[in-house]
Point group: C2
Chain length 122, copies 2
């Protein structure tokens, strides 16, 4: 018999890591080829010259705070505020150019394996 019991409600803004911590990713849901994470940044940026280049597609949204995302080949950073989301296909190279140093930036990031054929706004 499968357990259909719902675990307690969780708030996304609870248990934020301290500001001096490293950028922190917490899995909210994970399955075969799919993973939902909360990421908390306090002024963290990707190292100079570093690009994420992922086998998985990623949908990422800023829930609170502010960030700038750079996508390889684009002329400018994308400024992201609450509710702004970007779909990054697998191997779309990108880096975090800036996050607000004065408050936590809380992201939701959904990673989906390319073989699950993720498609935005399908």
């Amino acid at each position: 018999m499968t357990d259909t019991t719902a675990p307690p409600t969780l708030n996304l803004f609870s248990h934020l890591p301290p500001a001096e911590a490293e950028e922190a990713a917490t899995a909210l849901l994970a399955g075969d080829g799919v993973r939902l994470e909360r990421i908390v940044s306090y002024g963290h940026v990707s190292p100079e010259g570093f690009w994420y280049d992922q086998d998985e597609a990623e949908w990422v949204m800023v829930v609170s705070g502010g960030a700038r995302l750079r996508i390889e080949g684009e002329a400018e950073d994308r400024a992201l505020g609450p509710g702004d989301s970007v779909y990054l296909p697998a191997h779309c190279r990108h880096r975090v150019a800036w996050t607000d140093p004065d408050r936590p930036t809380v992201w939701l990031a959904l990673f989906v394996a390319a073989d699950l054929a993720p498609d935005p706004r399908a």
Copy 2:
């Protein structure tokens, strides 16, 4: 050659349906066994006596607004505000008991097929 180009940034609060519309679900990302939706409610509730009973697991979060969710077998509704999320295993029967009639309630809902073995906080 796979297209690695990122589509434009989308804001979750853009293009909200009018308040008099039916509850509106918009797919943000869909793949084989995984679907991310924005749902917008304006006072909508589940019909009396109706229970959602889904083959998929669902992770759902209120991003803005307010709602009350009833889970079968629980003594009280769960009151949900911004950032509150609930994991609903497949076949966890639930209904929306209330949403704020005075403003839009914007939800993010991630549906994952049971055979992808979704697991909260894995």
